[in-house]
């Protein structure tokens, strides 16, 4: 079975992935909706920007984030001036790295499912006396829910596997920023880490697979509930 430090690594990974989904789900829904419904030439530019972390090498994403939230970066120094603490090389930095890298997957899933909602349903809702926000919450969001769930789970799974940006932005601090991929990398470089690597790899595969299966099941249940 897993050793005490390994359990700590798995716990930290799940925590980081969970938080990364939690902090990005609301902006993800807003952006997904905006990218599906906004009629503007700027839409393509916005979409490109959101998708960027999907194609950038994660190490580069980590570098850019470090420039932003590191001690000398604009956000990092402002944070330090206000709270006296730092962002980089903390569990928070792991969450930021995982959220940014998983964000495009979440937004794209939500965007596609909002596109699948007939805008005429939204029009009818408005003419029945429900405003924009109410229409979104009562019609668009429930009908797009399978996509929202799918996008959230994909980004959770992506966050579990996040390595490149994390190692640059958060480093490799045991109990604080050492997530499963970072731990695997560390164990691989140590002389007697092979057994530990195998155990963590097995856990990693199991967690990712479970997340994907759960997403599929939830989406199917949602669709059945919607009668489609």
């Amino acid at each position: 079975m897993l050793t005490e430090p390994e359990i700590e690594v798995v716990r930290l990974s799940a925590l980081v992935a969970g938080w990364s989904v939690a902090v990005s789900i609301v902006p993800g829904i807003l952006l997904g909706w905006l990218l599906a419904r906004w009629r503007s030439p700027l839409r393509a530019l916005l979409q490109g920007t959101v998708m960027l972390p999907l194609v950038l090498p994660p190490v580069v994403t980590g570098f850019l984030l470090l420039a932003l939230v590191g001690r000398s970066g604009p956000l990092g120094s402002a944070w330090e001036a206000v709270t006296g603490g730092r962002i980089a090389y903390t569990t928070g930095a792991c969450v930021i790295a995982a959220a940014v890298v998983g964000f495009p997957l979440m937004v794209e899933g939500i965007r596609l499912s909002v596109l699948g909602v007939d805008p005429k349903l939204e029009m009818v809702s408005r003419s029945l006396g429900r405003g924009r926000l109410s229409t979104f919450l009562r019609v668009t969001l429930p009908l797009a829910l399978p996509g929202v769930i799918g996008g959230a789970v994909l980004s959770f799974a992506r966050a579990l596997g996040e390595f490149g940006a994390t190692i640059v932005l958060a480093g490799n601090i045991e109990g604080e920023t050492r997530t499963i991929p970072v731990a695997v990398y560390t164990l691989m470089n140590s002389t007697d880490g092979e057994a530990g690597v195998m155990r963590l790899v097995a856990v990693s595969v199991a967690m990712s697979l479970a997340a994907l299966l759960a997403a599929g099941w939830l989406a199917r249940r949602q669709r059945a509930k919607a009668g489609r």
Binding site: M123, V124, S127, L128, R130, G131, S134, T135, L143, G227
Partner: protein
């Protein structure tokens, strides 16, 4: 109930340019597809923002652009029902019906139960919208719109997606809604029969412009003049009272300008109005009343106008106070010596009287 609209809206090479006012209570919007009917309806609903328009419902200005009032659709109290019922698929039938703010309370009130009653929605309440038939869905859509207590119902070809039988059923429901719930409506259609049956006043659109306005029976009586002959499908469209049925003779007698018009037997009761279509080339003209005739109708008439076209002559006739259009060949016109004010006899077979419901 009243509606007043002036709309100028251009998009993708099409321009809608319409100005009208009407006291309704049911205003028909008639025209071919692409004539701008739906665009007009969407402007009234607030689903399209026209560049230059003033729209008032019951003297309440909901749109005055550029620069003035803009009431968003949710605050106009104008519920729309389109040809696609557009039920919310994730909600039960009951939740669809109570979707509008206040509709849940309305459903529990007497007026709410009357709506359920008129639309026969009670057996549908517990069913999932996905399992309803097309006609049932449209009934739910109508109920959902009515339960939002709109000042006016906006109907965009509500029967178009249904087969003929269901379309008649939904039309009958709309008539019942008009009669027993006295709801005002703006009713877009391309079916002349529906317009005649439901609308009190109508406007006719052609290529984005208003070409006629008035009571449907008046406006549609000369469809050729306003370019909707194809749409109406017949040259003469009449709304006539049933006098009595002659079952032995196989005819229903209708009152046409004080004369009896023998039409095919129909189910309407005496005193009720029916719509009858007559093709101009199925009306025969004689100078004297013919004898030994199989055609059941020989109606004395007066020629009011003659229009000679290339290879045909259009003869405008008046029977009592009703105008009819007949089409004959130039040779026949010359032989009969037809002229303005000529007294003639219009011969019409019973089978040529097309009952339109």
């Amino acid at each position: 109930m009243s509606i007043e609209a002036r709309v100028h809206h251009a998009f993708r090479g099409f321009t809608l340019d319409v100005k009208f006012e009407s006291a309704g209570p049911v205003v028909g919007v008639f025209g071919a597809s692409g004539s701008g009917k739906t665009t007009l309806l969407n402007c009234v609903a607030g689903l399209i923002k026209p560049r230059d328009a003033k729209i008032a419902v019951n003297t309440r200005v909901v749109c005055n652009r550029p620069g003035g009032t803009w009431t968003p659709p949710e605050r106009r109290k104008l519920a729309i029902v389109t040809q696609d019922p557009l039920l919310f698929p994730h909600l039960s039938t009951r939740a669809n019906l109570t979707y509008a703010p206040g509709a849940a309370d309305a459903l529990e009130s007497d007026s709410g139960w009357k709506i359920i009653d008129v639309l026969r929605l009670k057996p549908l309440l517990q069913r999932n919208p996905g399992n309803l038939s097309g006609g049932e869905k449209q009934r739910v859509a109508l109920g959902r719109a009515l339960l939002s207590k709109p000042e006016m119902l906006l109907l965009d070809e509500p029967t178009s997606a249904l087969d003929a039988e269901l379309a008649r059923e939904v039309l009958a429901l709309l008539l019942e809604v008009k009669r027993s719930l006295s709801v005002a409506m703006l009713f877009v259609t391309h079916k002349a029969g529906e317009l005649m049956a439901l609308a009190d006043d109508c406007i006719v659109l052609s290529e984005g412009k208003l070409v006629a306005q008035g009571p449907p029976v008046q406006v549609l009586s000369k469809p050729r003049a306003i370019g909707v002959a194809n749409l109406v499908g017949v040259d003469n469209l009449l709304r006539l009272n049933v006098v009595r049925h002659d079952e032995e003779g196989g005819v229903t007698l209708l009152d046409l300008g004080g004369h009896d018009l023998a039409a095919p037997l129909c189910a309407a009761e005496a005193g009720q109005q029916v719509s009858v279509g007559l093709y101009a080339d199925e009306i025969m003209l004689c100078l004297e009343s013919p004898a030994g005739l199989s055609a059941r109708n020989a109606l004395p008439c007066r020629v009011t106008q003659i229009d000679a076209m290339d290879h045909e002559v259009l003869v405008n006739l008046r029977i009592g106070a009703t105008d009819l259009l007949a089409r004959i060949t130039p040779g026949a016109a010359a032989e009969l010596g037809l002229d303005k004010d000529t007294q003639a006899v219009a011969v019409i077979k019973t089978a040529a009287c097309h009952l339109l419901g």
